[in-house]
Amino acid sequence: MTAPLLEVRNLRVEFPTRRGTLVAVDDLSFEIAPGEVLGVVGESGAGKSLTGMAIIGLLEPPGRIASGQILLEGERIDNLPPDAMRRIRGKRIGAIFQDPLTSLNPLFTIGEQLIETLQVHLELDHKQARSRAIELLAEVGIPAPAARIDNYPHHFSGGMRQRVVIALALCAHPRLIVADEPTTALDVSIQAQIIDLLKKVARENGAAVMLITHDMGVIAETADRVAVMYAGRLAEIGPVKDVIHAPRHPYTSGLMSSIPKLGEQRESLAQIDGAMPRLTAIPPGCAFNPRCPKRFDRCMTERPSPMPAGANHAACWLYAS
């Protein structure tokens, strides 16, 4: 197996508040290989976006990495000073966020924004940067890029804007792309186009992609492996086929069967009763135990770590040997 491009080891993200410390991400470990797309799924508040923010070094204070390590190509990046991190961001790590409207500056043309980013990270003069910017726009599928480069963001539709954001994230050929809900704000017909684009980019540049989303359909189409998060912890991780068709963790099974599917008539959907605990009230033992149909004594007191379960790893005592 090739050396992982990104390695996250025992990551813990905390938010100190007046009423005590909230642990938003707790003992999370995973890795992504070059050319691989890792999907990160979970419900709101599961800590998936915060994990992405911790990796790109943009945690909002008072949130902080309390312990653990993040390694990019074998080199620690979680303890770098802000200046060094800023040079890595954009050059070695590209970020794509949910809302393409707020990721672009409305006062500058997309050409100006692309050229600036290119010149910050690569040694190009203005003319070279401009022709590279046009190439990039063509790569992400913007028609007539030489004409559109001087347009402002508001001239573009939502799907086209997200393409521009992807072009911006790609401009320095980053090794890692962190995409946080890149298709959530888009209509289904545009979603498919953006997913295909992300896949193509990962394959062609050998970049690793961390795709954060709550949409299992998007994961099924895009990811090679999936990590399922629950209450800040890793519930299950494994190859996409196995997680979707043979989930091992009771939370993943519940989640999968609660998704309505086309071409399947059911009177009612399987549902997981209750809701994910608030960060102030995570139960002892396994965080999923109050909602789990298969819980037993050990789950109430002792916290499980991910352990081998079929082709996957699941943090569940059912698989303790």
Partner: protein, 334 residues
């Protein structure tokens, strides 16, 4: 009108004025501009069924919902509830019998009111409870009906999660004993496991109380689960309407086919998704003829110039497409 028809829309249209301010128009010599959000939409909803309207953002599905409950008056056409024209002031008692559930459970509940007051408001407004004790008993009953505890009435909305807030919205909508609920994306702000809880609750309530739903959604899988009939909208027009099973197994309109093909495939059967070309055009200046023609693989000269009317097809369905009408499109494959 057949007796089991609850609601009928007859050629309903709605135009919004999207002109720039008067001074800008004068200075730059521009005229007024208008946007046809809903254009000639007709359909009927039978008692006890769920009609879903689907389409991409800006297709006018939410505007149709708002026209029906009377949040906007229609610019043209008629909306009839049990045969009574809703634009007629004499029909206002009918309004009690329809209620709406909104998308965002965080914005649709007053944060300063206790839940019991939120749920009680329609009962008080319509004068449905003779005294305080009846009112309290009714509120408690409504909260239990949606899976909350009667004691939850003492709390404020911020003490509840998104799914529980949507339950409160449903309890409020049910409090005036409506027969017809208009649900505008009721689960799209919720996580999937919570979405399943709310969809199950809605189906259960429909069976117990004999409700009729108009269900607006962009999520076709959710629609396939809950709807009996489905209407597909594109740029303000209803392009196809059919029984849910027929629509999903044998879509006729090229746009419906495109929407169904674009759904990410959870089964990972490896079926090739038809790449979708282009985007929804600007609704202020829609293309002439069939508005879908710039994205349609089957478009010809006629599609670019003549607007297709909805024609009836076998099996109580209809579609607005020249290619379907001329038989250029086979019934199953594309």
């Amino acid at each position: 009108m057949p007796p089991d028809t609850l609601l009928e829309l007859k050629d309903v249209g709605r135009t919004f004025d999207v002109s720039r301010p008067w001074l800008d128009r004068v200075l730059e010599g521009e005229g007024r501009r208008s946007l046809r959000a809903v254009d000639g939409v007709s359909f009927t909803i039978k008692r006890g069924e769920t009609l879903a309207l689907v389409g991409e953002s800006g297709c006018g599905k939410s505007t149709v919902a708002r026209l029906i409950v009377g949040l906007y008056p229609p610019s043209e056409g008629k909306i009839e509830f049990e045969g009574a024209d809703l634009s007629d002031p004499a029909s206002s008692p009918m309004r009690r019998r329809m209620q709406m559930i909104f998308q965002d459970p965080y914005a649709s509940l007053n944060p300063r009111w206790r839940v019991r007051d939120i749920v009680a408001e329609p009962i008080v407004a319509h004068g449905l409870a003779p005294d305080r004790a009846t009112l309290e008993a009714r509120v408690g009953e409504l909260l239990s009906q949606v899976g909350l505890a009667p004691q939850d009435g003492e709390k404020y909305p911020h003490e509840f999660s998104g799914g529980q807030r949507q339950r409160i919205s449903i309890a409020r909508a049910l409090s005036s004993n409506p027969e017809f609920l208009v649900c505008d994306e009721p689960t799209s702000a919720l996580d999937v496991s919570v979405q399943a809880q709310i969809l199950n609750l809605m189906k259960d309530l429909q069976q117990r109380l004999g409700l009729t739903y108009l269900f607006i959604s962009h999520n076709l899988a959710v629609v396939a689960h809950i709807a009996t009939r489905v209407g597909v909208m594109y740029l303000g027009r209803l392009v196809e309407i059919a029984d849910a099973r027929d629509l999903f197994t044998q879509p006729r309109h090229p746009y419906t086919r495109m929407l169904i093909d674009a759904i990410p495939d959870l089964e990972m059967s490896g079926k090739a998704r038809t790449p979708v070309a282009g985007e929804v055009p600007n609704p202020i200046s829609p293309p002439p003829g069939c508005t879908f023609n710039p994205r349609c693989p089957h478009a010809n000269e006629r599609c670019r110039s003549e607007r297709p009317m909805r024609i009836d097809l076998p099996g109580s369905r209809s579609a607005a497409c020249h290619a379907v009408e001329e038989g250029r499109l086979s019934a199953s494959g594309g």
